[in-house]
Symmetry: D4
């Protein structure tokens, strides 16, 4: 079981927890502890700021932000840190995530956000792990194993077309 959190996972609303759960589950499977918090760029901007500016001191290296609608959370996080920030646009409005995607990915020059697919919480976890693995060979090996197990699942499939 992991102990020291390396990844901070923020969500804009408590209603996002179900869409984001695979994020910390995937991190845990890869042996990475995470700190998970709800913090809104609009309802609790000071909480976001405090969680982000204090993150390096707590040993956190990567921040993942999941939000829907006009998803500003990842951008608001990125404004307060030079740690890598990963955005997960969530399909929670009637527009099915295109609003959250554009709000996350179209960051102006100078303050990047690494955006993954709509509802891509698990991919955000793997991306965070890939970043952390640059200085963690054991993690790098676990990522390679994950890839291989994904490939094996696919390669052994047979479909009967007769």
């Amino acid at each position: 079981v992991p102990d020291t959190p390396k990844v901070l996972i923020l969500m804009g609303s408590v209603s996002d927890v179900d869409l984001m759960r695979t994020c910390w589950q995937q991190l845990a499977e890869l042996g990475i502890a995470s700190e998970v918090r709800v913090a809104s760029a609009h309802r609790t901007p000071d909480l976001v700021r405090e969680l982000v500016t204090s993150a390096p001191g707590r040993g956190l290296r990567v921040i993942i932000a999941g939000a829907g609608w006009a998803a500003h959370l990842a951008g608001a996080v990125a404004a307060h840190t030079t740690l890598p920030v990963i955005a997960v646009p969530l399909a929670t409005s009637s527009l099915q995530g295109i609003d959250a995607l554009l709000s996350s990915v179209q960051m102006p020059a100078g303050v990047p956000v690494a955006t993954v697919s709509i509802n891509g919480a698990r991919n955000a976890a793997i991306l965070a792990a890939q970043i952390l693995a640059l200085s963690d060979e054991a993690l790098s090996a676990r990522l390679s194993q994950l890839r291989e197990s994904q490939a094996e699942k696919v390669s052994n499939l047979k479909v009967d077309s007769t």
Copy 2:
């Protein structure tokens, strides 16, 4: 000429000045002074916060925020105030403003932003004036005159179709 600013106009980038100029020009024509600043939700979040939280003390009543791309500025402003906040989405990316529109208008429940049309800087000024006119009868009269002059320009037009 107006003296005490009632409206704070923020832009996310100095490159937005040309698209936003009709905003303070229209306010000035309506006799409303404005304070105009460049402040980025992502590059200068603390400046945004300071300008917004100090705004009521300087007598400012309405805040207009113009921004393009993943336009978070109006939302970042709204997070720090209960003054009315007006967003002007700007068509500065290759997506021609649909990114800025969705990033501005799709605010989550609890923190509204009043969004006007893409590149609608002049409409933002008139909307701010309409809000201020609720407690300023002279301004209300000037707004009615503006409407009438708009109507006259249209009504006197003749097109020769022969």
Copy 3:
């Protein structure tokens, strides 16, 4: 319980009532009485006109218009008044509200409409309250309390990621 209506809420169709109900509920929670009517820009243009032009005389200060499809209601209201007009685009067609959003927000120069998020009836109420609070300190205090209670709900959340 509130008594004199300050906000006129219009809906384009009786089928919009369920999507708009949080609007007058939120206003009531903030101590603001509202007058709620169904009036269609297309089926009852004269009713819209009469309700809007008579609104100032009844003490109404802000008008909220909720409509779906080619949502013309807010624009039709704005054509007859210089009171602030707030549009709530509703996701009632197969296009999930993008039609109502563009029909509401893309107003031509000279006649602004303050558009909130798709199905954002509650945000429209808060925006109306923010406008009214410019001349009502007690309401301003209630809005600040609403913000704080929103923040508290978020800040106290803990998510177990182990």
Copy 4:
């Protein structure tokens, strides 16, 4: 040369004249006189209403409305008449006409608008002529000739691909 106007052509703004000119030109070529006016659903709603409600008395049978942005003009016209109303969505905003198209075509049940292609001013004229031709055999013959001349232009083309 035609004399009594049968078609009323409205435009939302004087800046739309160049995009709409082929409309009255095509009508004239088909021998149909038109009345051409600028009238805005938002800046001059009473002018729109008056022009429309008085149209049958002046012998007008079909109304064409060209407008860009949140193009409400055709809908506002249709609200005041049971004459056939044709909408020409104009590509005058940064969104290239998709806003005007959705604002024109997505009319709610009960009040139809006949929408043609974006910037399709000439097609609106031909559609109006097709409607009028139901009770005008000479016009019907001219429409058939127009079709044949269109077909001939295409059929005689040869492209050298060597």
Copy 5:
């Protein structure tokens, strides 16, 4: 009960019948008989051609075509007639009708199609009736009554907001 059909209603697929049924029902309520057929622009182009070119001889005056996906039916009809053609784009693909809308409305210059809203079968019927009413005063009166009854339904509504 109506007897001689004036309106030909075509559908691209038998699966479109449920979405189109309000079309002939509305026509019948207005006293207009219709001929209803399934004919596909792609699977039965010759049937479409024959139904359309023979339509004037059977007394048909207006043609309504309902289709989803790449909805070519209205355009294919318009290619073979100068009668007014009305398109009803149907939301039958995963794209919810935006494909059918663009395929119907964006007709090239010279061959117009009158497009109504997505799934707007009833509006197509009313538009057809408006066209026929230009030479049928009794029908014109029934259309005015329909409008009035629509207005009455809306105007008598009261919503309790307390």
Copy 6:
């Protein structure tokens, strides 16, 4: 029953099997055997490469690739062969297939992919058959019969509009 596979059908994920099943069923009805495999452009790129480069040797003539999200499968296949490649974009993300459509169809110059409609697995089969029929007269006759039976189903339909 067919014996030697002429068409290779690839799917990006085992979850795509249900959406793709009509593909091999339609091929079988036309007397064409197919080889059906799950192979992901991202999780098993080497498997894709091997299946594709070895395909001509196994007698395969056409390759169909069905995938959702950022559907790279058809493009990845086309990169390794000059056999005709048909893409079936699948509506498996929240964006309902527009992502898969653009990812499939917008191939750069030099490496074409033949894209059919979203979820159009059956059409992909017919297109593959049309290609194979260029050198197989019996198959060509079966395709003509299929067309005729489609036409007959439509042409015999009667709808009662009274």
Copy 7:
């Protein structure tokens, strides 16, 4: 120089010639003769029908159709043949080709069209060649050479990043 045309190239309008020219140029470079015609699905449906139904008799094996706006040409062609039909959606309206793309690719079940990228005239030619190469080994070899020359152009590039 090629002699007997194997590919029929149709364009919906003479204004499409410049966008389509690379199509017959690429075919000629691959040694494939083509017959190039302008024929509109809407202005000359009978010409389309005649060109298509007579195509097999003239030795034509594949048909390419380029069109913009509500691009029905490829679908209208496919309705009259079981030869493979390739669509090139052209970006000639203000919507930049998304209308032509959806009108081309979203064909209903039973009548497929092989759609290539927007303005992808050259890719259509290569796809046609890939189809013809299934029974033409010399052509297959030329296609492989084309691929190799494309690869070589890319592989020899060096970019100086210092």
Copy 8:
């Protein structure tokens, strides 16, 4: 001047060089050497594979891929490595980058790509630097300085609104 490349920058086409140049320029300003290559997922898949699989051996830690249209390059890279992969969608087709954005960001579960804004080559460089800075304190300090200089440029701006 930097010496050992840590970042591999790939572009899908030589025509992308101008849009991507700020990427290696920004890296160089931050003291990070890069290897810049043109390699196409479709025209040179084997070159992509070789450059990527050999990258760790050459000391490369992060891979940036810029591509337009159906931008598969970043995904094709990610398929062959567990290094972090950053995608820059380029606005090179008529669809202005929305095709490249969706093709880049909507990666299926298991193989993430970190997507930045359309044409966001400079942001990709900064994101790569942020990742590398996790194990390079001097680089981390330079990133903080870059942020401060960005903030200073904004904060010293004054706009004269009188």
